[in-house]
Symmetry: C2
């Protein structure tokens, strides 16, 4: 089958899937949990074969590790499928209900988006996570996995499709694409694919955006900041600034730049330097930092760099405003934290920093869909439109307006026979 035919089938499946009851979609999740256990030997053996081949092909150790799908991963997936089944229906929620004029009611109701094309990397468990979020939210999933995990993915999609069948949902609600050429074919399917969610490098996301008319919600890089305010508690500052940097060096929510208010810099920076040394983190400081400690000089480029490594840039600022300006200029609108006991300073920081997640006194590492209680996450959205930050079920739905009358015409409005009342009936009434 061509990618065009596959996409058209996804769209057809979407119409049925999106109109299905929550019970049926939850049944699918529970059936999938069972199917994965039933097929686990086939899945593990396919994964073994992927692993051996990837190793021969010289895949790096961290990526090899992410490729593994074992009993442990299976247990995690069972957990996450069960939690997902417990989450409320993201569909058919009446957001508001207004009376336009007597007898004419307007409802804004959530609904599924359509066909979601997802291009993901080596981790085969991501396939289950993404497909289950898509189907819970009434969207067809068109999945393109990594070459390294090809055999595992093939086994997983069989389990998904078998669970779809058992639940009475269209089997085409989840389909797997295989080759790199398939991606280029996907990009042309703007009639059938409603949204692309790539997981990959910024460069890859940009390539997609430049070569398709389908909207792309990009997975974000992160230049995250911790700002130690003049009214920070020293212990909190040391603890949070350290965790944000070293708890995991290679993730998008790790701290890359530390900003320190000058009133606290003399005390804070030498103590923090000690902690960084113990954890083998290199410091690159601005002029004022280098007056306090010995370290490499930070260049203009450092402020705009996502190291994803054991390096931290440090700048001493003379005010809260300078910290905010620095973050808005050099940051990537991902996650930025203020350490302060002053709630007014916290409020100014959190309102004026133009990032999707803004924190007070907590590690930037908390920026994650599971941590936020979304059950799981499809990705982290870079942009400001539609969905922002960690994207769960909520990022996979849109809304439609439903207007119910009994023969009202615009001619009657123009003649004055119908007059607008624009009365709020309820912010949350069932349709």
């Amino acid at each position: 089958m061509s990618v065009h035919e596959i996409s058209a089938r996804s769209k057809q499946a979407f119409y049925t899937l999106s109109a299905s009851d929550l019970i049926v979609r939850n049944h699918f999740l529970l059936n999938l949990a069972e199917e994965l256990i039933r097929n686990k030997n086939e899945i593990f053996s396919a994964n073994q074969s992927d692993f051996v081949r990837a190793k021969e092909e010289g895949l790096s150790a961290p990526l090899l590790k992410r490729l593994i799908f074992d009993e442990n991963k299976l247990l995690q997936i069972q957990d996450s499928l069960h939690s997902l089944a417990l989450l409320p229906d993201p569909l058919n929620k009446t957001v508001f209900c207004h009376e336009i004029s007597p007898g004419l009611k307007l409802y804004r109701v959530t609904c599924a988006i359509g066909v979601i094309g997802i291009i993901f990397e080596s981790r085969p468990d991501a396939l289950i996570q993404i497909a289950s979020l898509a189907i819970k939210s009434g969207n067809s999933a068109l999945l393109k996995g990594g070459h390294e995990a090809a055999e595992t993915n093939q086994q997983l999609i069989l389990s998904i499709q078998s669970a779809l069948k058992k639940s009475g949902l269209p089997v085409d609600s989840a389909q797997l694409l295989h080759s790199r050429e398939d991606v280029n074919e996907m990009l042309k399917e703007e009639r059938n694919i409603d949204l692309l969610i790539p997981r990959g490098s910024n460069q890859f996301v940009r390539y997609l955006m430049n070569n398709t008319h389908i909207p792309v919600l990009g997975h974000s890089d992160g230049i995250c900041h911790v700002y130690v305010d003049s009214e920070a508690k020293m212990e909190t500052a040391l603890k949070v600034a350290l965790d944000s940097k070293i708890q995991n060096l290679s993730v998008c929510n790790a701290e890359e730049t530390l900003l320190v208010h000058e009133a606290i810099a003399q005390e804070f920076i030498p103590r923090f330097e000690q902690l960084l040394k113990e954890n083998h983190v290199e410091i690159r400081g601005d002029g004022k930092t280098r007056e306090i400690i010995n370290c490499k000089k930070a260049s203009e480029e450092d402020w705009a760099t996502e190291y994803l490594d054991a390096i931290l840039s440090i700048r001493v600022v003379n005010s809260l405003q300078q910290a905010i300006d620095h973050i808005n200029l050099y940051g990537s609108h991902h996650t930025d934290c203020i350490i302060t006991e002053n709630s007014q300073n916290a409020s100014i920081f959190m309102n004026e920093v133009d990032s999707s997640s803004v924190y007070q006194n907590v590690s930037t590492r908390f920026a994650d869909g599971f941590v936020y209680g979304f059950g799981a996450e499809v990705g982290i959205a870079t942009g400001k439109l539609h969905a922002r930050g960690p994207m769960g079920l909520d990022g996979l739905v849109t809304y439609k307006y439903k207007l119910i009358g009994h023969g009202q015409t615009m001619a009657e409005v123009k003649s004055g026979k119908i007059q607008y009342t624009h009365k709020v009936i309820s912010e949350n009434c069932p349709l």
Copy 2:
């Protein structure tokens, strides 16, 4: 000043504007209403000069009519500025508040998007409408108006900037660009401009999308349908199907295709043909329609055509499902209506038709931001992401996550010291 400098100033203004109080933003709206009256002679005379020049340049009569800015328009604008001032603040609304773990609270809060670039056509009153919506929602407006209205727009922006100044808001919150070359410069400002909203042809919107990395929310064309169900009330069907077609032929929410259930076609179509004849509307019918009345044959192309003219295509369908499939295949996801007294049929239609507005027993002409009670409208969004259908204040905001703790680290989560509670504190609590 270059477009780059102007955009950077817009961004700077946004930081102040978006952090301003509702009272200040509402003051701006009332001040603007006063300024326009104070400057009305200058505005009318500029408009007179635009009108004379446009007429000499051969602008068509309907466009000339839209160019007029007179006492009447001014009165309408006063009304709309006053209503806009009465609408609640779209900013800083806490959408939800969850406890992640004891002492760690996550808030999702609405906030402004940033700098909105708006490219609009001849109507100079659109400038006021769009700029006032943008500023009420805390966004800077970068406006590019039509050449025909250049002098009027220049006067209007002076009134806006003077009102901004009087309200203590940054004057750069609203700026006007002039030339066609400015548009191409705008497209490069992805660092400063967060969203583009063009009003214009589909072709123009597509050109913008192909030439910028800035997200574009397009103003939609409409292939709107009325479906007369087997359980329609005859009088309602005749009245609504006629109003949807003829009340205004050249608008995006006018009906272009009528679908009729075969059980009612024999009675309905001849009666409706009579009404269309009286209103000089040409019919193009499918085979079954042509068995009932004499009319031109509808081609495959007709079903996918937005006539914006006194032409209507008619198809007889054998089921509700066939009507839904037709609309999903040929429609433009704008506004589609079912005429029926059967609420189950209505519910299936309204759930399965994949359009931004779905109606029961009411003219498609009601698809409009003012009619929906949004105060005014920035445009009608074609896509399914972010905003859909008529876009008011709500379409001009996004959200951010605010997380407030007291030193929580991810290391403490990994060691089991912190456990997630994921408790819903409130769906709507103040921060």
